[in-house]
């Protein structure tokens, strides 16, 4: 029987060795893999296709958890750009701040960042849910196609710009809505969703002034009568 690896000291291995060790552990059925000293290294735990729990004790760099399908990743530290990019299913929880493009293009699963994230958070989401405990930067939710983004703090300029579908909830101040992003009425289902999703991260949804943002759908089809809207968007 193969040796079950449950702890990996990143400082002793190359990134390729770390990722191969994680995948070997997952294939061997190890339920919990703990990684120490990640030291903000890039591309850790990418493309893990099994429901293994992977815990990083320390900050991770760019693209952590990208393309994963089913893994449960916990980062006890910050993360760099594009955490969970193209996530298919499973979850990533970052107990720190995030970089730009957090949860970009995810198709499913759940990305949670406890602190603030940078520009283009949740850009081109195609499903899944992104939850940010703090604020998000410029052009977050840009060209969102499906899914849900919850921002407890403030949203930078251009939130939800050119979104096709999906929903963005903002609990703080919205600096400026993006092109064709409109505020919609917040209903009971929305409040229930916020309570449930934030409750999963021990956040009380009651202390926020929630705004619900959706697509205005004016950019779905070109109309010469809406020329000004297109000009502003482009």
């Amino acid at each position: 029987m193969a040796t079950l690896i449950s702890e990996i000291d990143c400082s002793q291995h190359t990134t390729r060795e770390i990722n191969q060790a994680i995948k070997r552990a997952a294939a061997d059925g190890v339920p919990d893999v703990r990684l120490t000293n990640p030291a903000a290294r890039h591309c850790l735990a990418v493309a893990v296709m099994s429901p293994t729990r992977i815990v990083f004790d320390g900050p991770v760099g760019w693209y952590c958890g990208g393309m994963c399908d089913g893994a449960e990743i916990v980062v006890n530290g910050n993360c760099g750009w594009s955490v969970g990019e193209n996530l298919m299913s499973g979850s990533i929880a970052v107990h720190g701040n995030g970089g730009s493009s957090a949860g970009a293009t995810i198709r499913g699963g759940r990305v949670f960042i406890e602190g603030d994230t940078g520009a283009r958070t949740g850009i081109a989401m195609k499903g899944g849910i992104v939850v940010v405990g703090g604020s998000v930067g410029y052009m977050s939710g840009f060209m969102m196609q499906r899914g849900t983004m919850i921002v407890c703090g403030d949203a930078g300029d251009g939130i939800g710009d050119s979104m096709y579908e999906g929903t963005v909830y903002v609990g703080g101040t919205i600096h400026a809505l993006g092109a064709d992003c409109v505020e919609s009425e917040l209903g009971g289902d929305d409040r229930a969703l916020l309570e449930s999703e934030l409750g999963a991260n021990d956040i009380d949804s009651g202390g926020y002034d929630w705004k619900k943002l959706v697509s205005g759908r004016k950019l779905w089809n070109f109309s010469k009568h809406e020329y000004d809207a297109w000009r502003a968007a482009l």
Partner: protein, 299 residues
């Protein structure tokens, strides 16, 4: 793509191993380019003299001719050269543009920097290559900025390496990641005011732009804020003066820049991996600079 880093002690009386900090921070940033690497280091300032860093032809009589040029302008001390890098201190009270011209009249020379406290060291290759060519790791100072370069729009040579000195303004340097798309217009405007440029690199114009603002009496804060509107293109840059470091990021936030600080120091870098080489503490929580945001830290 380029890598940026900065390190500053907040206490105005504090000096420490900033050269080593730069080496440690630049080493993991090599993935962002190793065409060239450089640092601008700020030591204890001396009012009576300037330190010059000059790129020279490694062989021949160039060092001697540079010495003659300097000796004609003032009292020269602390003179040394390693390969193609010459360092000298000069007691001089005249115009720095004139002093620069005097040195550069010697063929195959380029003045990297002149300052009361600032010294620029740069060369092609990565952080270790530059340390081998012109040692900087042992430098003790108050703050420093560093750069590792992946060239995209001008030559790969020492002259086009960062940091850039805001010639002829003493002690001002810049490191930049990105492209300034209105560079020619900006340069023409600054050249029209009498400023001169040593290279065709867009980043040099940022240094001169900020120095020009400071010369007009603007604060570093105002100069940084103006730059976000006046510079087109993508940029994250660090500008350093004897008093501290300022940072700015373009309005589209296309180039990475994070910072972290505690009571003792400020750390700035393109990526957290550089910060973690000099600060293990999990208490340091880096945050990304926002779109169009500027920050500055003065000692």
């Amino acid at each position: 793509m380029c890598g940026l880093c900065g390190f500053l002690y907040k206490d105005p009386g504090r000096y420490g191993p900033v050269g080593h900090a730069m080496f440690d921070m630049l080493t993991p940033l090599d993935r962002r380019g190793t065409d060239s690497t450089g640092v601008a280091l700020y030591g204890p300032p001396r009012d009576d003299s300037y330190v010059l860093r000059v790129r020279i032809e490694a062989n021949g009589d160039t060092p001697g001719r540079v010495h003659e040029a300097l000796a004609g302008a003032g009292a020269v001390s602390e003179e040394s050269h390693t390969g193609g890098n010459l360092r000298a201190r000069i007691g001089y009270a005249g115009d720095l543009g004139t002093l620069t011209d005097l040195v550069e009249e010697v063929p195959e020379t380029e003045v990297f920097s002149i300052g009361r406290s600032m010294e620029i060291v740069k060369d092609v290759g990565d952080a270790s290559d530059v340390e081998a060519a012109a040692p900087y790791k042992s430098f003790q100072g108050s703050h420093a900025i560093g750069h590792t370069r992946m060239a995209t729009e001008s030559l790969v040579d020492v002259a086009h390496s960062h940091p850039f000195w805001a010639r002829p303004f003493a002690d001002i340097s810049v490191v930049h990641n990105g492209h300034i798309t209105n560079y020619h217009k900006l340069r023409r405007r600054l050249a029209g005011k009498g400023h001169r440029f040593a290279t065709g690199n867009d980043s040099e114009a940022i240094a001169v732009y900020i120095a020009d603002k400071l010369e007009q009496g603007d604060s570093l804060e105002n100069a940084l804020r103006s730059s976000v509107n006046d510079l087109d293109g993508t940029f994250a840059y660090l500008i350093s003066t004897p008093q501290g470091i300022g940072v700015a990021r373009d309005r589209f936030a296309l180039k990475p820049l994070i910072f972290a600080e505690d009571d003792e120091k400020v750390l700035i870098a393109s990526e957290e991996i550089a910060l973690r080489r000099v600060a293990d503490s999990t208490d340091l929580k880096p945050r990304e600079l926002g779109a169009g945001e500027v920050r500055w830290w003065l000692r």
